[in-house]
Amino acid sequence: MQLYLPIADLPVNVFLVLAMGAAVGFVSGMFGIGGGFLMTPLLIFIGITPAVAVASVASHIAASSFSGALAYWRRRAIDPALASVLLCGGVTGTALGVWTFTQLRALGQLDLMIALSYVVLLTTVGSLMFSEGLRALMRTRRGAVPPRRTHNWIHGLPLKMRFKRSKIYLSVIPIVIVGILIGFIGAIMGIGGGFILVPIMIYLLRVPTSTVIGTSMVLTLVTMLFATLLHAVTNHLVDAVLALILMVGGVTGAQFGARAGQKIRGEQLRLLLGLLILSVGVRFAIELVIRPEDLFTIRELGVNG
């Protein structure tokens, strides 16, 4: 069934988009991530311009992270204090990101920036996660105990605050910086950033695993809602029809993914996710390096009269 997308200005097959939403939703439910890093490239692949894809995926991620956040809230697995400090940074970062997005679009380098950030970020995070998962897997094989967590330089920073639910005592500076970073790249790349945020919170900020996913989902939810709003106001690129189809597919797929994820062990899950992220990054890298099929591209600057 064909449906005409009003903002993307092209007809798409509803079932194809629904299936894409469900597939990405499955993956995101399984790994507890937003799945934007998969969804945005997929949309670009079916012919939607990178700009519209990035802007529309934001609202899709908002929907899936809201249903996730609700579930974690019921289980009291969200740290409200930590979430609010993260959000201060996140909102600032998102605003900066959308502004940069608009500037790059005017310069004609947006597509390149999106591709480049995908390559750099995904290959780095992917390989880190993959090697970490591999090491963890080998450790459990050998029956060794994981190394004890020690305090690092981050814990020496001033402006410390007590986060009761997470049971940590931490400076707000690194938290706000992390928020800004995630908000910024999220707005430019059309990703929630959960797959970067969770490792940072665990390894750098030492947030206990009990509250980390729920809290990161709150940040994702708010930054993505804010990104949707800003993209709609400044660039008029959010395709609500596309977003709705993706959301419906996504939230459904996520439920089944979450159930499947519970059957797999943590280390294996991280290994798989690392591999997945890495392969998306490599795909973007290949695209940048090989000679494109067509060296020319056209962009319409708007109809006059």
Binding site: Y4, D9, V289, P292, I298, R299, L301, V303
Partner: protein, 255 residues
């Protein structure tokens, strides 16, 4: 009606020297883009009316139909290899060029008229005026210019630019028809149709008609809201996201 007749009369008197008159009509003057729109084909019908001053030995005519969509500014960019990766470097801006452009004829453009007249009457994609901004100046460039030909090639690939020298068929020696294919991703707006008549290589007259392509209903509503009330549109989309997420958490609640 009377006004129309008067206009016709003036046109007739004005074109007495030309001797032929073109009467055309398109099958649909208002194409609506609905949710299940996936391309359409319009039909243009017409006839060549002779009158007393038409030379008696003039038997065959040639026709060139030009369909032009709403005009827009466009930028063509060229990628070049820089530091091992392909980056947009050079670009050229096309000013107020048709977003849709189709040229149809009953036989090849070369056979219809001389290169000189073809250029003056903008017959063929190579002769259509595509104004570029070239270092502060506004001009068209030679047909084989890299940017110009890439621009036409890309638009043709998307079905938005086309030329077909066999699309016009003469049903009788004076009655003709042609199809106007509109692709799925058709630009919205007013389309001008120009029908140019040739006989023995000479340009002997033209007429114009138009049709419009409009988004209706929901599509139109969404598109205009997004452009004019960005804030409300964004808020509604955000609310929609929250609703969907909330509904999902209720529907799939495990207990």
């Amino acid at each position: 009606m009377r006004a129309a007749l008067a206009v016709l009369l003036v046109l007739l008197l004005g074109s007495v020297a030309r001797a032929e008159r073109l009467i055309v009509s398109v099958s649909n003057h208002r194409v609506t883009v609905t949710p299940n729109y996936s391309g359409e084909e319009l039909v243009l019908f017409g006839s060549v009316e002779k009158d007393a001053s038409t030379p008696a030995d003039r038997k065959t005519y040639d026709l060139v139909v030009t369909v032009m969509g709403p005009r827009a500014d466009m930028v063509t960019r060229r990628k070049e290899r820089t530091f091992g990766i392909w980056i947009n470097t050079d670009y050229r801006q096309f000013l107020a060029v048709p977003s849709y452009l189709a040229l149809f004829a009953n036989r090849s453009f070369e056979a219809i008229t001389s290169p000189e007249i073809a250029r003056r009457q903008q017959i063929g994609l190579n002769n259509v005026l595509l104004t570029q901004r070239v270092s502060g100046d506004y001009a068209d460039v030679v047909p084989n210019d890299a940017f110009r030909s890439a621009f036409i090639r890309l638009r043709t690939q998307r079905g938005l630019y086309r030329e077909d020298p066999s699309a016009v068929t003469f049903l009788t020696s004076t009655l003709f028809r042609t199809g106007i294919p509109l692709p799925a991703e058709v630009p919205i707006g007013t389309y001008e149709v120009e029908i140019k008549l040739f006989a023995d290589g000479a340009f002997i007259g033209k007429t114009e008609t138009a049709f419009e392509i409009v988004k209706v209903g929901f599509e139109q509503f969404v598109a205009t809201t997004a452009r004019q009330n960005g804030l409300i549109y964004g808020l509604v989309t955000a609310a929609m996201a929250l609703m969907t997420g909330w509904m999902a958490s209720i529907v799939f609640r495990k207990d």
